[in-house]
Amino acid sequence: MSLETEQINELHWLMEMLHTIDVGLVVLDRQYNIQIWNGFMENHSGMLPREVKGKELFSLFDEIPKDWFKRKAESVFLLKNKAFTIWEQRPYLFKFQNYRPITGSADYMYQNTTFIPLMSATGLVTHLCLLIYDVTDNATNKQDLECVNNELAILSQTDGLTQLFNRSHWESCLQSEFKRWCRSRSPSSLVILDIDHFKNVNDNYGHPVGDDVIRHLSGIIKKHVRETDISGRYGGEEFVVLLADTPLENAQIFCERLRKEVAQSIVTHNDIELSYTISLGVAEVDLSIKTYEAWIECADSALYRSKENGRNKVTLHPKQA
């Protein structure tokens, strides 16, 4: 084989490779007219090279935002610098279908792209090469992972029965609220409440009914709290609500509203109808309270006094300072 045919062969192979490589290759001129369009682009777009040759990119693909694309491209022409885009900033340049239309979960192909300046013999950038990489699997994996992590984060903080915060997460919220109070000293109140004679409900009607009562109460709590309040399930039939920016008097109003609504409502489970009451204790944080645990104790002892004094009551922990 002569040297010349060898070179021609090599060139031919190179062309063949560029045509079949699983990466999109496009060459654009200064006016954004398509000059080269490889097999990847042909197959994914359904447009033959001769159909697109010489046509303006934006006239064929209206999913490409002209201003955005030109901003990237002009800096490549001007600064003779490569530019990259990633799927996180824009999921795709060309709206192609997912490579796996049946088992894939994404609706379209996520793409990373590279803009490469192509220089003429005079050193001017006259053309631009676009490389289109399919990164659908990377993107969906990362998104799935983020999704799962978010769900896990929520799950680990939530009580399954009531969808309120669970005890450990609620306690860490209380801890940071206590720290915030130490700095800001704006009033903050803590409510602990407990279903009266809950054991009787379980004993007389069974646990499914008991669960309904707990869900019912958590529904009422959710209805009455503001977005900034933090409510949680503290124990079996015990609930806590942290009322940020709320002095004792206002917390009392909140508690009375809650107590009355519970006392007036009826829980139905199949043909069973029953009513129940709650007892509440409130403590506003003050200088005599040195830790968040002590704050809980204050509210808890107020709750104890509500129970002592006949239940279905609100008791305030007297302010010390």
Binding site: K72, L78, I86, Q89
Partner: protein, 363 residues
């Protein structure tokens, strides 16, 4: 009579490069200064009828030297040789009285051409032995000029061994100068992109453990909220990553400068960050690759994180990283509180090739 010539640059390598790029057979009496105030002393002592001046230097920079020369009416002709190639830098030095501006790395033909153009050097005065006098003033460094024919060799093998532990001052100086030129390229593009004047720092070169990385970032406070992009690069025998870290409070100003009209959200901030990364990382790498005569492939950029503390940005991969040659460049934009940190991190293995390349540069 030989012409008293003063070369002022904080980099030893740059001083040598300039000295070796002087026209052949020029009868000069060379002194060196490592910063602006040494240069002023030397001019006053009559050692600097011609001054070849760098811009970015500690203690007293090139701009301040030019101002002092005008103010005190010192008898010297100044040609600036700098990696800062922003058109505005050029303009500023000529308006301060510099004859001309030469871009680093300095080129012998260009220097000869300019020296001839201003009549500082005439080709007739030749065949005079180069005589190096140690500078008399104590503040002027008493460097010996490497003879043009036999340049001082850097003992590379010795340095390679030592480089594992710490960075030799000579080598650090070389890296710093290479970074300086590369940074100038990137700064120039940034200035053109944003239409501002970019204040170029003195690059920070260190051999550090990756665990020290977040502490090594001088431009970013530990508790500030930041966003970052990271991009891998590789060339024959040299590989590493480029990190671009932008202070979150800078986004609004960058958006204004880049004419982003939309309101800023996490997505448009990522756009801005990517645009900055494309320009700065690309230009810096091509500056390095040009000087070392090698080319780099760049991987796709990866988002390190948005709105996070610097330690969280970097912590993600820290288990895999070990010791690294870190070049930190903190860009500041004149009149805007924009803080932008570009880090070039080279793997420990890359240093062997890098050191060889540098030895070649010094030859």
């Amino acid at each position: 009579m030989s012409t008293p010539l003063l070369i002022c640059d904080d980099s030893n390598m740059a001083r040598k490069q300039v000295a070796r790029s002087l026209p052949d057979g020029w009868d000069v009496d060379i002194s060196f200064a490592t910063n602006g105030s040494e240069a002023i002393e030397a001019i006053k002592a009559g050692k600097g009828d011609v001054l070849l001046l760098d811009l970015n230097m500690p203690v007293m920079d090139g701009y301040e030297v030019l101002q002092a020369i005008v103010k005190e009416d010192l008898p010297t002709m100044v040609i600036v040789i700098s990696g800062d190639i922003q058109p505005e830098a050029h303009q500023r030095v000529t308006s301060l009285g510099a004859l001309d501006f030469i871009q680093k790395p300095v080129n012998k033909n260009k220097l000869t051409e300019i020296l001839s153009a201003y009549g500082v050097f005439t080709a007739e005065t030749k065949e005079v032995a180069l005589e190096v006098k140690p500078a008399a003033s104590p503040s002027v460094s008493k460097l010996n000029l490497p003879p043009v024919s036999a340049p001082e060799k850097v003992d590379v093998t010795k340095k390679q061994e030592e480089s594992v532990g710490f960075l030799e001052p000579d080598l650090r100086d070389c890296y710093q100068e290479i970074a300086n030129v590369a940074m100038g390229r990137a700064g120039d593009l940034l200035a053109r992109l944003l239409d501002v004047f970019v204040v170029l720092p003195i690059p920070n070169v260190n051999l550090i453990e990756v665990s020290e990385l977040s502490m090594a970032l001088s431009a970013v406070e530990v508790n500030e909220s930041t966003s970052g992009i990271c991009q891998g690069f590789i060339g024959a025998g040299v590989s590493g990553e480029a990190l671009l870290i932008l202070n979150d409070s800078s986004f609004q100003d960058v958006a204004t400068l880049m004419n982003y009209n939309q309101t800023l959200d996490e997505n448009s901030e990522l756009e801005l960050l990517m645009d900055l990364a494309n320009v700065l990382i690309g230009a810096c790498l091509s500056g390095v690759s040009e000087q070392l005569d090698m080319s780099f492939s760049q991987g796709h950029p990866v988002v390190l994180g948005q709105h996070r503390k610097i330690s969280e940005l970097i912590a993600t991969n820290s288990a895999r990283w070990r010791r690294t040659l870190a070049i930190e460049i903190s860009y500041n934009i004149e009149n805007y509180p924009i803080k932008c940190d570009l880090l070039l991190l080279f793997t420990e293995e890359s240093m062997k090739t890098l050191n060889n390349k540098i030895a070649y540069l010094l030859d």
